[in-house]
Amino acid sequence: MPRGKSIEFKLILFFFVSGMFIFLLIFSFTYRFSRHMIEKNVEESARNLTQSTVNKIETILSSAQKVPENLAYYLENSPYDKEQLLGLLKTVVEKNSEVYGSTVAFEPYSFERGSLYFAPYYYKSAGEIKFSYLGGAAYRYFYLDWYQIPKELGSPVWSEPYFDVGGGNIIMATYSAPFYKTDSGKRRFTGIVTADISLEWLRDIVSSIKILDSGYGFLISRNGTIVTHPLKDLIMHETIFSVAEERDDALLRRIGRKMISGESGFVPPMSIVSGKKSWMYYAPIPSTGWSLAVLFPQDEFMADIIRLNRAIAVLGTAGLLLLLGTVVFIARSIAGPLRAMAKATQEIATGNLDVEVPSVRSDDEVGKLAQAFEYMKVSLKRYIKELTETTAAKQKIESELSIAHHIQMSMLPKVFPPFPERREFDIYAFIETAKEVGGDLYDFYFIDKDRLCFVIGDVLGKGISSALFMAMTTTLFKATAAKGIGPDRILAQVDAELKKSNDEDMFLTAFLGILNTKTGEVVYANGGHNPPFIIRRNSEAVLVKETAGKVIGAYEGMDFETGRFILEPGETLFMYTDGVTEAKDDKGGFFSEERLKKKLDDLRDLPLKEVVSGVSKAIKDFSCGTAQSDDITIMALKFNGEGGSV
């Protein structure tokens, strides 16, 4: 049996696959759901953390902004001299811890007529306040970002963060505010006030962002320059865009562009800079346009979920295996016996009834099937045994029957013409026995030189006994006719003789006649038999006149009467048994006397043998293959007149 199509395989496949499907469904749902929850939590805490950090930074930056802004406001609105300006500047640097240095840089020749550069600068160095003038051929501050950008934009700006090379390698940024002088209603750009702010605190704030083991924050400037990052090599050397270029990471570049354009957002897990997949939330620092990003390492946040899912996976797999085991067991307990029974059936089909039927202990449908199968086997075996016996017995009987049939047939004259030297008549007989041994008889013999006795009869019933009865009767007729008595008395004597030893109440019908071969006179008696037809030469066939009589071998009383008629030369006496008229067609209709008469009329001019064969053919055509139920016997006697055939 091909395994692929077996019930066992189908059951296992179906249950296993659907089990697995259900498991995967639950698993993926749990995974997605828990992941979604974590993601939601991460996004929320990322937003909060980033926002609070941004606020912290913003607070410090905006307080640092106040210094140059206030100074610029003062310079625009109050008169001052050089001394006042220097004093003010020094105080600013002294009093503001976050201010590393500060200058007021004037446009060429706008503070003093004689000086191209005028930019007094106070700054902290090794815990002391120091002073110098900025500007000179080597330091043309007009063209530097901190001066040029606010001048061109007309508004205060934060510079890009930079490393202060002189002051101990600290990150700084300069906030520059332009100030103006109003001369006769005209606002004229006069210079720039700056405050150099150390960003070391910024570094501290950002690097204090620690999320689990490997989460961190980083800050980029407006140009995308990485200002703080756990990887020191990146700081101030790389922009987020150069990192993106190096990694050929278009997504990182897109995120960077969003960051520097002041957007905030949550980025689904991706590897950013550190190479570890992380969620990232970024938000702008409004005053500077810088952007702070906080990274939440995915693997660490997912660790619990991964553990949970691993446990679910292990449990699920174990459950699946258990299910598989159970299904295999059940499938085997169903399919195994079925397969064995199919095999046993094949064995039985080939005739081996001694095959072992698999025993199934269970009380379920399969068990019942096995029981029924066993019962069927036993019944079959018994039936076949009986059948074998019956068949043997039947065969024996059939062979006996066949012997009887042969005996019976051998008693009937078969050679035609029987008396080739007697030309004054023709006689021809035909018998078609039904399958079983029948009881029809016919016979003819001379009782003296000119008288031919002939008899046709039909023993009621079939089988051995009727055959024996027929044989006995045939002999009796012959013996009795030899006495030279008339037909009525022949029948009467035979009747009496049969009654003597007839224990089984068998009887027969018979028509017996004696033909005078010189005159054509026929004397006859009828013992309940179908009256024969006389086929005239020039008119329709007629039935022989009824005479008194009864069936032979049964009932008391009632004598037989002798009838007589003359057969003119060329006329034929056509005798038959009821097998002829009662032959059936496939619709159950009889051949009937009328159809016989008509047929005889049609055939009357033909030779005797052809008349008989014509009728027998008509019967065969009529019955058209319908099984013959009774013997069909025909005997025809044609008188030719003295001296030969007509």
């Binding site: 950008i149 407006r222 140009n223 995308g224 270029e245 190096e246």
Partner: protein, 326 residues
């Protein structure tokens, strides 16, 4: 390309004349800026022993804003120097007897960059706009360009950064294609957001970096000059065929000079140098100064009153590659 490869094969097949000499000749070279991929060919030739192969014990001096290559050459502190063509013509005109022995860069890398968001797409859009320009020779081409297109432009002095442009303090900025352009890209502006003006596309091609030496150096030992030029050009071709290796060499010299390194930036720079150095016409050999380019540059200089007369081309430029071929 084909010409370049043929050139390389030729150079490989003919080792310098000095190679047969047992004693290496000393020669010093100064680039006109601090170490970066703009000078990859020289550093690679030094690092891969190409100078040595040509019989030269070469040394590369530190260049940069504080070390003018022009001064070093003029004062004989360096035997060879990398100098812009426009500067060299002016020096020659001023009486410094320097000669161009190889015009390494074939196209000018100086460009103007504007933002498309500022509505600038073609030269005429610059009219009335603020453009920041570096000083000195860097203003020659832009000013000639503005003049050519009749543009009235407000020029703002430009310092070392492009922040003024990034913050929209100016509408256009001067930039080196191999340097500031890439800095802008890596500050988050996409190339398709920018309009670039390449001067060679407007008939103002000023080929820049070339190798120069003094006439007397050449007279004293022409074979040294040939060998140095060939070795340098071979260094360039080697850099183009081994870009990663070349960038690593450059980064090494940058670190030695304590200059912040950014690998992708140097890689970009080397790729642009390739575009600028390899002649567009592949049948032209590298390192050759085109006479018409020379005339354009000299013409602009004279118009601006920076030189009185155009120095004779044939005594200014010595085709060293050609000479070696012979």
């Amino acid at each position: 390309m084909k010409g370049a490869i043929l050139g390389l094969l030729f150079l490989l097949a003919c080792p310098g004349l000095g190679a047969e000499e047992a004693v290496l000749k000393k020669a010093s070279f100064i680039p006109h800026w601090s170490p970066q991929a703009q000078f990859a060919g020289y550093y690679v030739a030094l690092d891969k022993g190409i100078y040595r192969k040509y019989g030269i014990d070469a040394g590369i001096l530190q260049g940069g804003p504080d070390f003018s290559s022009c001064e070093y050459l003029k004062d004989k502190k360096a035997d060879f120097a990398s100098i812009w063509l426009s500067r060299a013509i002016q020096m020659r005109s001023e009486g410094v007897r320097l000669i161009n022995v190889a015009q390494v860069m074939q196209r000018s890398a100086l460009i103007l960059i504007a933002k498309k968001s500022g509505g600038i797409h073609e030269p005429k859009d610059l009219n009335g706009k603020k453009v920041s320009l570096w000083e000195g020779d860097f203003q020659l081409q832009p000013k000639a360009f503005f003049k050519k297109y009749g543009l009235d432009v407000k020029i703002v002095p430009q310092s070392y950064t492009i922040n003024l442009f990034l913050r929209d303090g100016v509408d256009a900025v001067s930039a080196m294609w191999y340097n500031e352009y890439h800095t802008i890209i890596n500050s988050g502006i996409d190339p398709d957001e920018l309009t670039t003006f390449f001067f060679d596309e407007y008939g103002l091609n000023f080929p820049e970096d070339g190798i120069y030496t003094l006439e007397e150096t050449f007279r004293r030992d022409p074979s040294l000059v040939y060998a140095f030029v060939q070795a340098s050009l071979e260094g360039w071709l080697y850099s183009f065929s081994h870009p990663d290796e070349a960038v690593d060499v450059v980064l090494k010299y940058m670190r030695d000079a304590r200059i912040p390194v950014n690998k992708v930036h140097q890689k970009w720079m080397l790729e642009r140098m390739r575009d600028l150095i390899l002649p567009k016409d592949t049948s032209v050999m590298i390192g050759v100064l085109d006479r018409s380019d020379y005339e354009v540059v000299a013409g602009v200089l004279r118009e601006n009153g920076m030189i009185k007369d155009v120095p004779d081309f044939d005594s200014f430029f010595i085709r060293c590659a050609d000479h070696a071929k012979r």
